[in-house]
Amino acid sequence: MTVMTLGGAINAGLRAALAGDEKVMLMGEDIGALGGVYRITDKLQAEFGPRRVVDTPLAEAGILGTAVGLAFRGYRPVVEIQFDGFIYPAFDQIVSQVSRMHARTEGAVTLPITIRVPFGGGIGSAEHHSESPEAYFAHTPGLRVISPSTPQDAFTMIQQAIACSDPVLFFEPKRRYHVKGEVDIDRPLADAAPMGGAHVVVPGTDVTLVAYGPLVATARDAATAALAEGVSIEVVDLRSLAPLDLETLAASVQKTGRLVITHEASGAGGLGAEVAASITERCFEYLEHAPVRVTGFGVPYPPAKLERHYLPDLDRIMDGVDRALGRFGSETAVLGSEVTR
């Protein structure tokens, strides 16, 4: 076991993938000499050369579109989108091209493209640098969407994404880049849990609390705080946003009877809505209360001085847990509104 940061673990995973398959190549803005603005690709260009670790022009559609052509030629491109909010210029190439080329060609062409996206807020950054765009991609058939929350998962999952024959969006919780944890860098990838699975990271009996990426740590804190109040929260780290591991989620909800889902992205049409609907369909008779969402608001990501209000924190998650338990919380305010505008 080696102790490393989540960012360092991604770097180690990229290094392992580059070393293990000469068709793997990294592409992105500033990923070479600089090592990426977050240093996730630190020293990789020096180690593998500028043909394997490519500094590209500043053109996100260009990065994704050329990755498509490289995959046609047999390469496995790993592209870095510098910040979450910069993925929108590449949106068309991802949803119109990357996602469906395999289907369009009836399986003749595979696009094993990994799209790395540092995402989410909490770092006091400027506009377009704190977005959570994952639902757009989870909504699109042909794409896989995953997000690690620990250094070990980051190390394993980035390699699984690169090895996967399908395009994978790899959402990196940038405010957790510096979180340290133990990583077994010698464990063979084949021994790791499959890429699509959720993990129960804190067992509990009263409420199922679902989180992914940056909010898993907050959810763990909520479980600890709740325990002091005599409430047993089971925390499930989603890990895969598309597909969802509904089996693990349903098993947990069948045990606890209550479901709270939290994410930084705004709630409308988000992953929380998908989890709530899917679990309600499967576990309606087990539920003691309607599923509860604790999410970012339906507003553009706010300026840095306001983001602590926007981001679900321990208290807002605990408020959601209270609602799921039928306690007061903010439930009256939510359900008391008689007029829908």
């Binding site: 190549m25 043909r51 590209t56 022009p57 053109a59 559609a61 260009g62 994704l64 579109g65 050329t66 990755a67 498509v68 052509g69 490289l70 995959a71 046609f72 030629r73 047999g74 390469y75 210029p89 068309d92 190439q93 119109s96 091209q97 469906r100 080329m101 395999h102 289907a103 369009r104 060609t105 009836e106 399986g107 003749a108 062409v109 595979t110 094993p112 058939p141 042909g142 896989r144 996967c164 024959s165 399908d166 699509g196 598309a242 597909p243 969802l244 591991d245 509904l246």
Partner: protein
């Protein structure tokens, strides 16, 4: 090869750059612009079928003897006949849509015949003649328009990506493929086909940035057919489209797209440059879409009949016929052979198109992912159980058995 065809420079008579502000305003208001003509395009064969000298292009067409020119003529006649058949099939309800290529036969045949088998083509939806030359089987041309599939052929059998509907997206794919060729140390070339409208898209511009930055072996082949559905080329460009590429550091040529010899020569010179490490080239083939954008379009609403008449006089096939007559190569036997080849191809296209079967219901779930996907498997199973509630209609059992293999059975070039 000069970096830019001198004939397409900024001082060409009548170009907006050379005209007065008043004329500029008039051009903007009436977007049928000065560059709608083909006067500045380089050619080897004029509209009357006479060879004209062009020192730059001639060396690259030297291999075209009477037999080879006859072959280009045959290809053009065959694809014009296939195109007509495609329209007829659409009118008869056998195809949902068809994008005619009438008038663009020389641009497509001349460029595609210059390619090597290991070159790789990324095209739009109108390059049926290119697909034909690359070896796509007849059903490959129609199955997407019949609604059987999103594409027609196995890309790796004919080294041509599936047709692209998103305007200009394929220019980036071609550039990426070219970067792969470069990394592999190979001497193949990637080619992006797109129209004049695509040059307004960001993707085409980003593709030129990437191609120039990395000196990728890619050719941008723009068929300026003067119309992006109802929008004239003047709405896309106030200068010759070929003028753009030099600004990206990419040499360009503007050739008469209705002159199959000039198109062939231009493509050959660009291929040679790319194979020898000279990087990308942009070719603007000045041609004209004689028909509608697709069978759903009505060009009489936006197009001056006089313009159509002008371009009818520049027909790409008639001028080669005149050339071959002058060479004594257009014999009655040859004419008959070509007519027979066109009829045979059209009859085969009709027969295989009508014979295409609808895919099995559960094949809607095929090939979305390359690896097992739990959410999709769940949906497939749910729909399978749903379908089983109904009495199977005649022949449905067989169709269900074919579910896994239907797409391959209908599979274009497979």
């Amino acid at each position: 090869m000069a970096d830019q065809n001198p004939e397409s420079g900024s001082t060409e008579p009548g170009s907006p750059a050379a005209s007065s502000p008043e004329q500029d305003a008039a051009t903007r208001a009436d977007t049928a612009p000065a560059i709608a003509d083909d006067e500045t395009a380089a050619r080897l064969l004029n509209a009357a079928g006479e060879r004209v000298p062009n020192a730059e292009l001639e060396p690259w067409a030297s291999e075209l003897d009477a037999e080879a020119i006859g072959g280009l003529y045959r290809d053009m006649v065959v694809v014009r006949r296939l195109d007509a058949e495609g329209i007829a099939l659409q009118r008869q309800g056998q195809l949902g849509l068809w994008p005619p290529l009438l008038g663009q036969e020389a641009a497509q045949i001349g460029s595609a015949r210059a390619l090597r088998a290991d070159d790789f083509v990324f095209s739009s939806y109108r390059e049926m003649a290119v697909a034909w030359v690359r070896g796509a089987r007849p059903e490959g041309l129609t199955r997407a328009w019949r609604g059987i599939s999103a594409s027609g052929w196995d890309p790796f059998t004919v080294n041509m990506a599936p047709m692209q509907v998103i305007i200009g997206a394929q220019s980036l794919h071609a550039t990426g493929y070219a970067l792969g060729i470069q990394n592999d140390g190979a001497d193949a070339v990637a080619v992006a086909y797109f129209g004049d409208g695509a040059t307004s898209e960001g993707d085409v511009n980003e593709a030129m940035v990437f191609a120039a930055s990395f000196q990728a072996p890619v050719i941008f082949f723009c068929q300026n057919n003067h119309w992006a559905i109802s929008e004239p080329v003047g709405l896309q460009a106030h200068r010759a489209i070929s003028d753009r590429a030099p600004g990206f550091g990419i040499p360009s040529m503007r050739v008469d797209g209705n002159d199959v010899l000039a198109v062939f020569a231009a493509m050959r010179s660009a291929l040679d440059r790319a194979r020898n490490g000279g990087g990308p080239t942009f070719i603007e083939a000045v041609t004209y879409r004689m028909g509608p954008h697709t069978t759903a379009d009505d060009p009489t609403r936006y197009r001056d009949p006089a313009e159509l008449e002008l371009w009818a006089g520049r027909d790409p096939i008639r001028r080669v016929e005149a050339l071959l007559r002058g060479m004594g190569a257009f014999t009655p036997e040859f004419e008959q052979q070509v007519a027979d080849a066109a009829d045979t191809a059209a009859a085969e296209l009709r027969a295989v198109t009508i014979a295409l079967k609808d895919p099995a219901p559960l094949s809607v779930f095929d090939h979305v992912y390359a690896e097992p996907h739990t959410a999709l498997e769940r949906e497939r199973e749910q729909y399978r159980v749903y379908l089983e509630q109904f009495e199977p209609p005649e022949g449905a059992v067989q169709a269900a058995d074919d579910a896994e293999s239907t797409s391959a059975d209908n599979g274009g070039a497979r």
